[in-house]
């Protein structure tokens, strides 16, 4: 089937099998391998992208189901050379080691901050609890998201 998706504001058109998962569709799009796959069971969250601004696990959605929706991936966080405060926070607070869960964690964080600009530690932990990180023990991820919340006003570029 022919599919027309909006990914990071751009139209992507391709013929796919109806069963193709969104994560594979995204990853098959040149330049968009930042969205990762880590499990088969919607547990790990490495594949989280935003669909109409809400975090979704792209391994649990068929590409066909995303037609007509706005998809945002990790590659959209940086705009015209300006990093998102979430990206800066992850770097500043050493919230990544191997980097494999990082795109999913950062997209989850972005969605959280869009909805709740000043989340508590507990709210952050709940928000990212759909994702698994094997490296960081989450402490610095929580701190990085707090950092991003605190620096949102000074670093955020108007969309």
């Amino acid at each position: 089937m022919q599919l027309n998706l909006t990914i990071n504001g751009e139209q992507v058109e391709r013929a796919v099998e109806p069963r193709q998962l969104l994560v594979h569709y995204i990853r098959d799009t040149p330049g968009l391998t930042g969205t990762h796959w880590g499990c088969d069971t919607s547990n790990c969250g490495a594949c989280v992208v935003l669909m109409d601004g809400k975090p979704v696990k792209s391994c649990t959605i068929l590409a066909a189901m995303a037609e007509g929706h706005e998809i945002r991936t990790v590659e959209s966080l940086e705009r015209e050379g300006q990093l998102d405060p979430v990206q800066i926070g992850f770097h500043e607070l050493h919230a990544l080691h191997c980097g494999f869960c990082t795109p999913g964690m950062m997209m989850t964080a972005r969605a959280l901050l869009d909805e709740n600009p000043n989340p508590s530690e507990e709210e952050i932990r709940v928000a990212i609890s759909g994702g698994i990180c094997r490296c960081t023990g989450y402490k610095n991820i929580v701190a990085a998201i707090r950092w991003a919340a605190e620096h949102e006003a000074t670093t955020r570029q108007e969309v």
């Binding site: 499990c39 069971t41 990544l96 609890s129």
Partner: protein, 794 residues
């Protein structure tokens, strides 16, 4: 806040050398621009998928691939028969056993590799798997290690000539049995426990896989893979596939975690190589999560019987007898001369009079592995055993567990200290580290709080562990893997502009080597770390060495980088003496610069010396131009990091759920090159330790069906299960490491499970009489223990 395109904001601190330098590698990861295995797409590449056994033990009657071959997108189906013609049906393991690449005679564990399909795309490859018709004749399975040697146990390894039973490796001993008997005879208190360290799995977030690209015209084999020891893998492939070693190039780009899981060579890798040789195009094979948990390197699975004794209030002797369950093939990862790894470090941090350890290993119908899941070769099992036993002994004696440890510690003046099992600990001040942990925890305050809560019927537990690890394997006179010495190389080139490239044989999987190793060069040469490029993960561009596991990166490879930098510095001194027209002995070093003693204004920084070394100006007599050096570092001893951990848990009296409320970790890993990265390593290992203590287990039913083959069943801690870790440190430099560093990556995984289990027992002892529980402390198992029915994991 202005942020440049290429470098994220570096923050305030930019040390030239050691310190909290933000990571260089972050720049690509925070943009989603890492290059993990599945991100690589080669022209003409096809995809492989593996058909796996549904049975734990069965004879293969027949394999019919005709329906799969009829699939329009399938290029080939490879079975054991095809591999036999290539001589690849069996492969050696890293423990001198053999392992079937694809099963031909019978399957020996559920999930074993049976056939390899090559198709144009991954979906088609997987579509073809159920089209392969395999007829099995099921056999009874061995799942309980304690019963593996029963006379009526089915023989698993009938492929091995002369193998009459399921013994995988003969009894191996350390210590002194007779002396230990005497110490036990004189003891006033003895505790005995049967303790299981259950099978668990490193489960890195990126699974294992490979792209093999064999060029039939040139004979060159290009491999893309995420493994922890690319240079060692190249040598093994040369042996396995009969290929010329210099025609094999392995590239590990970014690796999504390893934790020991990416040390071994797996059948899927050999299938991808064989597939590329047969098909003449690149073959990509990447396992899914179930395959990862079902078939690749598990960890632990030690069934332990232990006795610990005390006299006059101090610990005096240890005796233990262990059955190691290796699964169907012995592919345990450890130095070859150490069949039980470093398990005999189980005498711990205590000044014992005697100890005796014996270990034997059995085959079972479970996946092979025995990898060191964030652990230095069975030290995790050793520390768990000892620290659980010390907890049990304190309970038996009715004394505080910290007090018993304090009385029994090896004292600072006893270092270097030879243990009763033959290790030479290099340095330590254990009591000091324990006291720092007590201070952070407010230990006495915690005990008061616990007493108050107990009075109210609440179940709060405080658990302690104190570990000593031996990491950084190892001295070539003692340690090798498959005959390869456990040394690491470093190759440092300073370019004419003063920028440097250091190539190393350690392999990062997220540990931050690109930053830490640049800082070592920066510290030694006095050039900014951003001017140092660290190269790893490409066998064509790195020196030989055994890679990253067993916390050996900083102890071995870090030492290599330090030594090679000093070599360059020494060369720079000779060149500077010519530049400055003085004798080398008249020059003094300050960070980044040689200068004339007595006239500090006259000097040459490294950058100028490098420019000179490549210029047309005369070099010192007998010296070639350029500024570079290479070394192979042979560590004189292991390093011995240690730490004091305290866990505070709450057990829900109604659901038996355990919550780790606080976790205090005080590590002494010697000199810290990048304290931010060290802290990060500790956080990560503690989370894994919580997982192992409370959630993570690979278990089997009586038929050998794996019960934890997805993240729905193999539970990994999320942000909700992990507390806000509280860290502290003491610094006792390693006396024989050039930087005084010891290695830290695995300490938190080693030290945390016993602290948590001791805390669970502490929570339940007074009220419910619990004196023992096995991991993982799931609500069901804790509930059973509270009812007086402790159940071992199975």
């Amino acid at each position: 806040m202005a942020v440049t395109k290429n470098l994220p904001s570096p923050g305030q601190e930019r040390p030239i050398g050691f310190g909290r330098l933000k990571r260089k590698e972050d720049a690509r990861f925070i943009r989603g621009k890492g290059t993990y295995l599945d991100d690589i797409r080669l022209p003409g590449m096809v995809h492989g998928a593996i058909l796996r056994s549904p049975y734990a033990h069965a004879r293969i009657v027949s394999i019919d691939t005709s329906r799969a071959l009829a699939h329009p997108n399938v290029a080939a189906v490879v079975t054991a028969k095809d591999l036999e013609t290539l001589g690849l049906a069996w492969m050696p393991t890293i423990s001198y056993d053999t392992q079937a690449v694809l099963a031909g005679d019978k399957v020996r564990f559920q999930g074993q590799e049976v056939a390899f399909v090559i198709a144009t795309d991954e979906y088609s490859a997987r579509d073809a798997l159920p089209l392969i018709d395999v007829e099995y004749d099921p056999l009874p399975a061995v799942v309980n290690a304690r019963k593996a040697l029963d006379p009526d146990a089915p023989l698993i390894r009938d492929d091995k000539e002369g193998q009459q039973d399921n013994l995988a490796s003969p009894l191996w001993e350390a210590g002194d049995a007779e002396a230990t008997d005497r110490v036990f005879a004189e003891a006033d208190t003895v505790v005995v426990r049967d303790i299981i360290y259950p099978r668990c799995h490193p489960a890195p977030l990126e699974t294992c896989g490979m792209i093999a690209d064999f060029n039939p015209d040139t004979g060159q084999l290009d491999i893309y893979n995420g493994n922890q020891a690319p240079n060692a893998h190249r040598t093994v492939y040369a042996h396995v596939a009969g290929l010329a070693e210099h025609m094999i190039r392995i590239r590990c780009n970014d690796i999504g975690g390893g934790f020991g899981n990416k040390v071994p060579i797996y059948p899927g890798y050999v299938c991808a190589i064989a597939g590329s040789i047969v098909a003449g195009v690149p073959v990509k094979w990447i396992e899914d999560r179930s395959e990862n948990l079902l078939s690749t390197g598990f960890a632990r699975d030690y069934v332990m019987h232990a006795e610990l004794c005390a006299k006059d209030g101090t610990i005096t002797g240890l005796r233990c007898d262990v059955i190691a369950d290796h699964g169907a093939f012995d592919s345990t990862a450890q130095p070859t001369k150490f069949p039980a790894g470093f398990f005999h470090i189980c005498c711990g941090s205590y000044d014992l009079e005697a100890s005796h350890v014996q270990v034997k290993a059995v085959y079972s119908n479970k996946a092979p592995g025995g990898v060191a899941y964030r652990c230095s070769f069975r030290i995790t099992e050793a520390v768990y055993l000892m620290e659980r036993m010390v907890g049990a002994l304190a309970l038996e004696m009715g004394v505080d567990p910290i007090e018993l440890r304090m009385k029994s510690f090896i004292r600072p003046e006893q270092f270097p200290y030879e243990t009763t099992t033959g290790w030479t600990y290099d340095s330590g001040d254990y009591e000091k580290t324990m006291r720092v942990a007590m201070d952070i925890a407010d230990y006495e305050g915690l005990r008061r709080e616990q007493a108050e809560k107990r009075a109210r019927g609440e179940l709060m537990g405080i658990g302690v562990s104190f570990f000593t690890e031996g990491v950084g394997a190892g001295p070539r006179k003692h340690m090798d893997i498959l005959g390869l010495s456990m040394n690491d190389g470093a190759d440092l080139r300073v370019h004419p502009s003063g920028k440097a490239v250091v190539s190393i044989s350690a392999q990062t999987q997220g540990q931050g080597h690109e930053t830490t190793f640049a800082q070592i060069v920066a510290e030694e040469l006095g050039i900014p770390p951003e001017d140092v490029q660290v190269r790893n993960g490409d066998t064509d561009r790195t020196p030989f060495g055994l890679g990253t596991y067993g916390s050996r990166s900083t102890p071995v490879s870090g030492a290599a980088v330090s030594v090679v930098s000093r070599k360059v510095r020494d060369r720079a001194r000779l060149i500077a003496s010519t530049m400055l027209e003085t004798r080398p002995e008249d020059l003094a070093w300050e960070k980044g610069r040689w200068y004339v003693k007595g006239d500090p204004s006259k000097g040459a920084p490294i950058g100028q010396i490098a420019a000179y070394a490549y210029s047309g100006s005369p070099m010192p007599e007998g010296m070639e131009g350029g500024l570079d050096a290479q070394v192979i570092y042979d560590p004189p001893n292991l390093t011995y990091p240690y730490g004091a951990y305290i866990a505070v848990v709450d057990v829900d009296p109604e659901t038996a759920a355990v919550k780790v409320r606080r976790f205090i970790a005080v590590d002494d890993c010697g000199v810290r090159i990048n304290p931010m990265i060290v802290d990060g390593q500790i956080h990560g290992g503690l989370a894994e330790g919580i997982g192992i203590a409370l959630m993570e287990v690979i278990s089997f039913d009586q038929e050998g069906n794996c019960l934890n083959s997805s993240f729905m069943d193999y539970l990994i801690p999320t942000a909700l299960e992990c507390p806000d870790f509280e860290l502290g440190e003491t610094v006792t430099p390693c006396p024989h490491h050039p930087l005084g560093a010891k290695g830290v990556g695995e300490s938190p995984n080693v030290g945390s499970p016993p602290a948590i289990v001791n805390a669970v027992i502490d929570a339940l002892h007074d009220s419910h009489g619990v004196t023992h529980i096995d991991m993982p402390c799931t609500p069901a198992r804790v509930w059973a223990a509270m009812q007086g029915r402790p159940e071992p994991p199975q």
